[in-house]
């Protein structure tokens, strides 16, 4: 059931300000094209890292798409998020090849290191931990991707080291 994946919007007190004007050129580009809903949402997520409530409202009124249709599509596809993500997105592969090469050990080690569950973001907003099904580098299983860098032939320990290095870089 895809419903199992949906994590609804979390309302936090200091909801960050979203500058919806950033959406103008995107909406302009896709406004009257058929089949535009998914590209609009993908473009929005590229800008904000997730799909903020304000963006829903703006796209709905300016591109004439029903809010319910938008929400239906967003919650259907695994790609879309309703909550802000961390600065770095960690995608641990749990495809078949990575599973048989013990990808669980990587997720477990990272969960412990970052003190978050799969799909969550660390409190300092630095990391989001996700699992994906196959990054296409199965010959290097188990694999994880951080932002756009892929790391292969990992152990839990090596994965932890990579994250720690990023932390060190960030604190400098």
């Amino acid at each position: 059931m895809r419903i199992a994946r949906i994590s609804g919007e979390k309302i936090t007190k200091e909801q960050e300000q979203v500058d919806v004007n950033l959406l103008d050129s995107l909406i302009e580009k896709y406004k009257d094209k058929k089949g535009n809903l998914i590209p609009l949402l993908q473009g929005t997520q590229d800008i904000f890292g997730y799909i903020p409530r304000e963006a829903f409202e703006k796209i709905s009124s300016e591109a004439g798409i029903e809010l319910s249709d938008m929400y239906g599509v967003v919650t259907f596809y695994a790609q879309f998020r309703l909550n802000p993500v961390g600065k770095h997105i960690i995608k641990v592969c749990h495809g078949t090849a990575c599973h048989v090469q013990n990808a669980n050990a990587i997720t477990d080690a990272l969960k412990e290191l970052l003190k978050i569950n799969d799909g969550e973001t660390t409190e300092d907003g630095m990391f989001t931990l996700e699992s994906v099904a196959c990054l296409g580098c199965c010959s290097l299983a188990p694999v994880m991707m951080i932002d756009n860098d892929t790391h292969g032939k990992l152990t839990g320990g090596q994965a932890v080291k990579i994250i720690k290095n990023i932390k060190i870089k960030e604190s400098n």
């Binding site: 078949t96 196959c134 580098c137 299983a141």
Partner: protein, 592 residues
């Protein structure tokens, strides 16, 4: 030195293995000393287990070097290029002398992968030099009719490589028969099978071959528009496709009155998937391109009659399309020379899992599973025992070691209960638990079910629950029968291929590994020692040094023992989390 070429493999997995650094290193050395050799890029060479790969071509021939890092790259420049002395011990493939990796190459026949690893995929000229766009030029030049093109594809015996295995020529014929003002051809590049990467390698390594296949298809069925539906997890493939499309437009292979064929107007755009396995199914894919939730719908009408925007639509897989230009150029007999009676040609397989040489191979249909795994693949990692190979991903099944002599064609693989699928082969050894594998796939299909059909939506969930409890030692005697019954009901009452095939991983593991299910259910044991809940952790008194690390880390304080004395696990309190096993530095925790 001017005629020496140095070529670095920069596919996704090469980059992940550090190929970019190797490329930059060579580039820096070349510039520092103003060396005159030619430095080039290519994509997946197929020997992914040897990444990063660097090929050096000199007057004597070609040397493919494997496992190259920055240090070794510098050595290659020093020895091979400056001193003209190839470093034989790094060579993984050459025609000049024998290498240990020759078995990986020898039996391969490269048709789909004809250019992968040979050309720079970002340069259309390199594709053209190797015969690219010559098939569509031939069609245009000789005014070969649409029906003749379709007949050639029919005669070649090519069957869809996306999993279904439907004859491609026939599919084109149906699409051609339906007349309409607009028609579409879609390339299915969703590659959903988690553990397969054939399509990625073709898209990254030879994007123009896919485009040319689509252009020929468009000509044959009179399509007016083309869409490539590519999964978003493949950013490099999308980037290279975009470059290729742009180049094809500039060179007149896309656009209006293509190559002078009057009225042949055709263009292609890319649609990025949004992460839903079910969108690999044709009708769901169409819904997704239209911007909707990707839910399959009833067929008929088939896409060939009413597909994208209710217009006749033809959908083909990446690999299918990459074969098309070759077939049109070399003729159907040449293609049909390879393969078995009902499965012609070659097939690309992605070898992964516990296999020594994982990577991409292309072999004629009809080779045995044993040859692919043991000859090309070099056997099992760490020389463990081969247990099974998973073919067909979530729709397929596990073929046990004793059926390794099964030949690979659509019908023989189907007879085992697995399916050929798109070409993923995940190899498993004695340390893989088959119930865990079945559970893994059911977890996948259960999450990916679109939810339309009750049995697919809820039935897979019930099956997953049963499998989960079996792996936790709570299995009941009747569980196997319950799984089988649910399987048949799901197969019978699901609308699309996802539900209809979802039980296959469970059915094949029950069929071939029933005793392993029984060991879990009756004896509460996991023979492969994977299911954590079924393991017993004990301290080996011979090895324990009394370092107390395990006791300090045990979440339930289940470990007793004084410093420098042998420790002891109270089984009643142990929750089998495995922490002590990973923490003990003296290998003193034993698992039974």
């Amino acid at each position: 030195m001017e005629n020496i070429k140095v070529i670095v493999g920069l596919g996704s997995c090469g980059i992940a293995a550090g190929a970019n650094k190797v490329f930059e290193k060579i580039k820096a050395l070349k510039e520092a000393d103003n060396l005159k050799f030619e430095l080039k890029k290519t994509s997946c060479i197929g020997m992914c287990y040897r990444e990063p790969l660097v090929e050096i071509v000199d007057d004597n021939g070609s040397y493919l070097y494997g496992d190259i890092n920055e240090k070794k790259a510098a050595e290659l420049i020093e020895k091979h290029i400056l001193e003209n002395e190839p470093i034989k011990s790094y060579v993984v493939q050459t025609d000049l002398f024998e290498t240990p990796d020759k078995d990986f190459i020898e039996d391969q026949v490269k048709i789909t992968l004809r250019n992968c690893g040979y050309i720079d995929p970002e340069k259309i000229e390199e594709y053209e030099v190797r015969g690219g766009y010559r098939a569509i030029r031939k069609i245009a030049g000789q005014r070969i009719s649409r029906l003749d093109v379709i007949q050639t594809v029919i005669n070649s015996g090519l069957r869809g490589r996306g999993g279904g295995g439907f004859p491609t020529g026939l599919k084109w014929k149906f699409a051609n028969n339906n007349k309409a003002d607009e028609k579409y051809i879609i390339c299915n590049a969703d590659e959903g099978d988690p553990g397969a990467f054939m399509d990625r390698s073709v898209l990254e390594g030879d994007p123009h071959a896919v485009l040319e296949g689509m252009i020929i298809g468009a000509y044959a069925i009179e399509a007016t528009g083309g869409v490539i539906y590519c999964r978003a997890e493949y950013p490099l493939a999308i980037k290279r496709l975009n470059i290729a499309i742009e180049q094809a437009r500039e060179n007149g292979y896309l656009g209006k009155n293509i190559l002078g064929i009057d009225g042949f107007n055709f263009d292609i755009y890319i649609k990025e998937g949004a992460g839903a396995f079910v969108c690999g199914e044709e009708t769901a894919l169409i819904a997704s391109v239209e911007g909707e939730r990707g839910m399959p719908r009833k067929r008929p009408p088939f896409p060939a009659e009413s597909g994208l925007w209710q217009k006749p639509t033809n959908i083909n897989n990446v690999e299918t399309l990459a074969n098309i230009p070759w077939i049109l150029l070399h003729g159907s007999e040449e293609y049909a020379k390879y393969g078995t009676e009902k499965s012609k040609g070659t097939k690309v397989f992605a070898l992964a899992g516990k296999i020594k040489r994982s990577g991409l191979v292309e072999v004629p249909m009809g080779m045995s599973i044993r040859d692919v795994i043991f000859k090309l693949g070099g056997g099992i990692q760490n020389d463990k025992k081969f247990k099974a190979v998973q073919m067909g991903g979530p729709s397929g099944g596990c073929i046990p070691a004793y059926l390794a002599d099964t030949i690979i064609d659509y019908d023989s693989v189907n007879a085992t209960g697995a399916i050929m699928g798109s070409g993923g082969m995940v190899v498993m050894d004695e340390t893989t638990c088959m119930i865990d594998v079945a559970k893994f796939f059911l977890d996948f299909t259960q999450k990916e079910s679109c939810g339309k059909c009750t049995f697919c939506r809820t039935g897979t969930k019930r099956m997953l629950e049963i499998l989960t409890r079996i792996t936790e030692g709570k299995g009941e005697e009747s569980d196997i029968e319950k799984l089988e019954e649910l399987s048949y009901q799901i197969k019978d009452s699901s609308l699309c291929g996802l539900g209809q095939t979802a039980p296959n991983p469970v059915l094949t593991t029950i069929k071939y590994f029933r005793e392993e299910y029984e060991a879990h259910i009756r004896d509460k044991k996991c023979p492969a020692k994977v299911c954590k809940q079924l393991l017993t952790y004990e301290v080996d008194p011979e090895k324990c040094t009394g370092c107390t690390v395990c006791a300090k880390n045990c979440p339930t304080d289940a470990i007793d023992g004084a410093k420098k004395e042998v420790h002891f696990i109270r089984q009643d309190d142990c929750i089998k989390c495995g922490t002590c096993y990973t923490k003990c530095k003296f290998d003193a925790i034993k698992i039974y």
